[in-house]
């Protein structure tokens, strides 16, 4: 499927990633080429095939619901761009 420039902009918005307006046409071509590659999969009928969940069929393990880690908030917030009083700061959201 050929991807047009509006679709590139829509995907960039969904992914919350700014892209250079000069690059939109390039991304449209590159995405179209990769999707054309992916469409080779259509040649095989997979209606009776299960999708893979884990290569060795492992299932999700469960463990007892107990606390394993201590409070590491201060350590984690040391590497944050902006914090105050234990909170992560972002631009004002609510007027």
């Amino acid at each position: 499927m050929a991807v047009d420039e509006d679709t590139v902009r829509a995907m960039a918005h969904l992914a919350r990633v700014q892209i250079d307006p000069d690059r939109v046409a390039g991304y449209a071509t590159e995405m179209s080429n990769v999707l054309a590659l992916a469409e080779q999969m259509e040649e095989v009928d997979t209606s009776d095939v299960e999708p893979m969940a884990h290569p060795t069929h492992a299932v999700q393990r469960l463990r007892d619901d107990v606390v394993l880690e201590g409070n590491e908030r201060e350590q984690f917030q040391e590497i944050a761009p902006e914090t105050n009083d234990g909170y992560y700061l972002v631009p004002q959201v609510i007027e």
């Binding site: 590659l37 999969m41 259509e42 095989v44 884990h54 492992a58 761009p81 631009p91």
Partner: protein, 482 residues
């Protein structure tokens, strides 16, 4: 001194021939001298390394021993190292200093290794040439105009140039095996779930697997012995005892049955690589291995399926980088949406953004079944092809790459031609199988690799065959290093 393998270094340290400080100082000065032109390292932690080397020497003097006590290695800059910057080759994490260690880092530290630094890589492990690193491309020590492969290109180049005897790497679609092949070293991608992914920055979680890279299969066995094992902290880790990789290295190859997939030996493969493989097959036959043709009919769908699954999982995994909790944040955001968009737009490079866009597309409403679900079904077909083949043979032999290392810039304009470089390595990732690349020749003065893919959890057998092959060949000893 720099030509020593890990096995040789262990012996030298144990016998008192040299100290950990001596070998580490020697290699650090070599890194100082060679890294400016090679760019294999993003960070070199000299002070910390020498401190750890001294600790190792003191522990040894006091009678302590552990398998890799005092042995210098380097970690790919995708493994989180507590207190040491972990960039993942990205501007997004240019100043990220993790508050914890990856399990692999912890396990190797417990075994006694001394980490000299962090190696360069394609940004977030997305690439086959190391041209996608924010910290500049890595130059292949075998040729100043050649790529080292990727994404673990810094690790491969560092070992090839004998700046360090072994490194960690990660492999999502060939990122250990392809650079190992391009740089003339040995690298193994274990079975999915064998090595913990905890603290290994995620790219495509259903494919990512860490493994060792070193000059020889024996050194890979020594490293993997310590890296492998069950980890509570990784939900996809497999709870199963680790085999004795070193103990079985010298097992005989009599009766070994090896499959040659007819799809691998076709016109897409460089003639000289095919000839190197034929010569390698002859060596293995002399040691008692027999060869039969096998059929992997869905092999050609590996690259198409991979370039749906990997971008889809990448777009999901990389959504955590939002400019709020850690990593890059843009200047003066107008509002929250602007903060997200510009932090991600400025923090990620071109290939990462391309894959996020593709991944977002294939996961979006209306397209999920046609792309992601279809690709996961194709994975099962590819996996079943291997299962059928392993009823007949013990392992599969083929090329690691279609060509030797290509020129810097040669494939960077066309993503699809770059992606096709991984045509022989991707199937093992899709099926979760272990694969090893072993140096098997020189083509136009550039190294090429032979790939062996085994059934689940047959790392010991792969290392055994590679080791025996290295007892009768010397490709793994060739190095461009002076």
């Amino acid at each position: 001194m720099h030509d020593k393998t890990i096995a040789r270094i262990r012996h030298g340290l144990a016998s008192g021939e040299f100290s950990s400080r001596e070998i580490c100082e020697h290699l650090l000065s070599r890194i100082d001298q060679l890294n400016p032109s090679c760019n294999a390292f993003i960070s070199v932690s000299s002070e910390l390394a020498l401190q750890h080397a001294d600790d190792a020497d003191k522990r040894r003097a006091a009678g302590a021993d552990s398998p890799l006590l005092g042995v210098p290695i380097a970690h790919k800059d995708i493994f989180c190292t507590n207190g040491v910057r972990t960039s993942c080759g990205s501007r997004m994490l240019e100043n990220f200093v993790p508050p914890y260690n990856a399990t692999v880092v912890d396990k190797l530290s417990q075994a006694g290794v001394v980490c000299l630094g962090k190696t360069n890589m394609d940004e977030f492990a997305m690439g086959s040439s190391n041209e996608n690193s924010y910290f500049g491309n890595v130059v292949n020590p075998w040729g100043s105009n050649r790529v080292p492969g990727g994404s673990s290109g810094g690790s491969a180049a560092a070992v090839a140039a004998r700046m360090v005897p072994g490194c960690t790497g990660t492999d999502t679609g060939g990122s250990i095996r392809q650079p190992a092949s391009f740089c003339g070293i040995t690298g193994i991608k274990p079975t999915y779930g064998r090595v913990s992914r905890y603290g290994m920055i995620a790219f495509a979680s259903s494919l990512d697997q860490g493994g060792p890279m070193a000059a020889t299969a024996e050194d890979c066995a020594l490293l993997l012995q310590e890296m492998a094992g069950f980890d509570e902290k990784d939900s996809t880790s497999i709870d199963r005892p680790v085999d004795d990789y070193c103990g079985s290295l010298n097992d005989a190859l009599d009766g070994l049955k090896v499959g040659l997939p007819k799809q691998y030996f076709t016109e897409g493969l460089d003639n000289n690589i095919a000839a190197s493989l034929q010569a390698s097959i002859a060596e293995l036959e002399k040691m008692g291995a027999s060869f039969v043709e096998v059929d992997l009919p869905n092999q050609h769908l590996s690259v198409p399926a991979y370039y749906v699954v990997a971008p889809a999982e990448c777009s999901s995994n990389l959504s955590r980088f939002d400019g709020v909790r850690y990593g890059y944040r843009c200047d003066n955001p107008a509002d929250l949406e602007d903060l997200y968009k510009r932090s991600r737009g400025e923090g990620f490079g071109r290939e990462v953004k391309r894959r996020i866009l593709i991944g977002t597309y294939v996961l979006s409403a209306g397209y999920f079944d046609a792309y992601y679900l279809k690709a996961q079904k194709i994975r099962n077909l590819i996996s079943e092809d291997f299962t059928s083949a392993f009823k007949e043979v013990d392992m599969i032999l083929g090329p690691t790459t279609p060509t030797p290392a290509f020129k810097i810039g040669e494939n960077s304009a066309d993503p699809v031609s770059m992606y096709l470089n991984d045509i022989y390595t991707i199937p093992a990732n899709l099926a979760g199988l272990p694969g090893i690349s072993v140096p098997c020749g020189l083509v136009d003065d550039l190294p090429v690799g032979m790939q062996l893919v085994g059934n689940y959890f047959t790392e010991a057998r792969l290392l055994n065959v590679a080791h025996r092959f290295q007892q009768v060949t010397d490709w793994h000893l060739k190095s461009p290093a002076k």
